[in-house]
Symmetry: C7
Subunit: 80 residues, 7 copies
C-alpha cells in the first residue's frame, strides 16, 4: 500500500498533540498523546476522563490498551 | 484470488470520497475517507457523528479503529 | 483438504449472484454480492437493509466487515 | 497428535450427512452438511432454521461463518 | 516448558473418559470425550445437555467448538 | 525482555500451590494449581467453585480454558 | 518505529512503581506492579481491589490476564 494512505502513519504524526480517545465502553479521555503504537496502545499525559461529557477524574499519565479504543479524534484545536 | 474480486481493493478505491461508516454500537459517521487500511482502520475528515439519525457531534479528523466497523457505505451521492 | 470440500470456494462461486447476508446483530442485507474474501468481507450492490423483515434503508454499494457475518444465504431464487 | 484423535477429522467425515448446527445466539440449523473447514465454516443444503424448537425459515443453501458455531450434532438419525 | 506441566497434555490423557464440559453460556454437557484438540474442540459421545442441572436433551455425538468452553471437569467418577 | 520480569514465569513458579482463579463471569475457583501454560489454561486439583463467596460445587480435577481467566491470586496463605 | 515512542517501553519503565489497573468490567486494582509483559499481563503486589471506589478485598500477589485491562495509570503519586 502507498504509505501516505496508511491511517496509522497519520496517527503517529499526531504524537505530542492533544487528542480525544473514545473507548468502546463510552469513557472518553482528553490529553496529550505522548506515545502510540500500531495496536493503538496509547500513553496520554495530563489526561482527563469523561463520561457523558461529565468530568470523572484527572490522571497524570494513563496507558490505554489499544483493543478498547473506538476512535481517536485528532483535530488540533479540540482542547483550549 | 483474482485481485479484481477482492473487496478491500474496492474499498481502497473509495479513498477521498464521502462515505458512511456504521459501527457495531450503532454510531454512524459521515465524512470524507482520507485513509483506510486492511483492518478497516479509517481516517475521516469533516466527520459528523449520528445516533439514530440524530447529529451528535462534528469532528475535524477522526481515526476509527477498524475492529469496531460494521459496514462502510460507498455510494458517491450519499451526502449532498 | 480436498479443495472441492472447502466452503469458502463455494462462497466465491456465488459472486455476482443475489444473496442474503445476516449479521450477528440481526440486521439483514439483500443484494448482489460483487466481491467477497476469505474473511467474508463482502461488497453488496443494490443492497437493502432489513430488521425483523422490515425494510430499513437502501444502499448503492455497501461494504460489510466479515467478522460481523452470521450467515450468507446463497439460493439463486431468494430474491425476485 | 495422533490424527485419529483429532476432532476436526471426525467432523470432516460427517460431510454429506445430516447435522444440527447450534449457534451462540441459540439459532439452530438442520440440514445436510455439504462443506466444512477447520474454522467450522459450514455449507448446509436444504437447511431449516429453528429458534426454541420453532421453525423460522427454510433455506436452499446457507453458508454459516464458523466463529458463530456453538456445537455440531452428528448423529446419523437426528433427522427423519 | 517441561511437558509434564502442560495442562493440555493432561487433557489429552482424559480421552475416552467421562467428562463434564461447561460452556460460557452455562450449558453443560456430560459424556465420554472421544476426541479433543489444543483449541479444546471436543467430540463427546453419549452426551447429555443440562442447563441449571436440568436435562435438556440427549445427543449421540456432539462436536463442541473449543472457543465456547469454560472448563472441563475430569474426575473419573463424576458420572455413575 | 529480562526473563525475571516476565509475569508468566512467576505464574509458573506458583505450580503446586493453592490459588484462587477468578473468571470473567465472576465464578471463582480455589484449589491447587497442578498445571498451567502461557494461555493460562489451568488444571486445578481439589477445586471448589464459588459465586459471590457461596460454595457452588466441589470438583476433583478441573481444567479451565485460559481465555476465561480474569486474574489468578497467588498468595501462599489464601487457603487454610 | 522509533523505540522511544513505543508506549509499551514506557509501561515497562513503570515496573516496581505503584499503579492503578482498571479492567473492562470496572474492577480496579491498586498496588505495586512487579512484573508486566507486552500483553499487559501484570503481577501486582500488595494489591487492593475496588469497585466504584469501594474496597472489595486485599490480595498478596495477584496476576491479572492482560486482555481484561482497560487502562493502567502510572502517576507516581497516585497512592500514598
Amino acid at each position: 500500500m502507498d504509505p501516505s494512505r496508511r491511517p496509522l502513519n497519520f496517527l503517529m504524526r499526531g504524537i505530542n498533540n492533544k487528542v480525544i480517545v473514545k473507548l468502546k465502553n463510552n469513557l472518553e479521555y482528553k490529553g496529550r498523546m505522548v506515545k502510540c503504537d500500531n495496536y493503538m496502545n496509547i500513553l496520554l499525559e495530563g489526561a482527563s476522563e469523561f463520561y457523558n461529557s461529565n468530568l470523572i477524574a484527572n490522571y497524570g499519565k494513563i496507558f490505554i490498551r489499544g483493543n478498547n479504543v473506538l476512535y481517536i479524534c485528532l483535530k488540533a484545536d479540540i482542547l483550549p
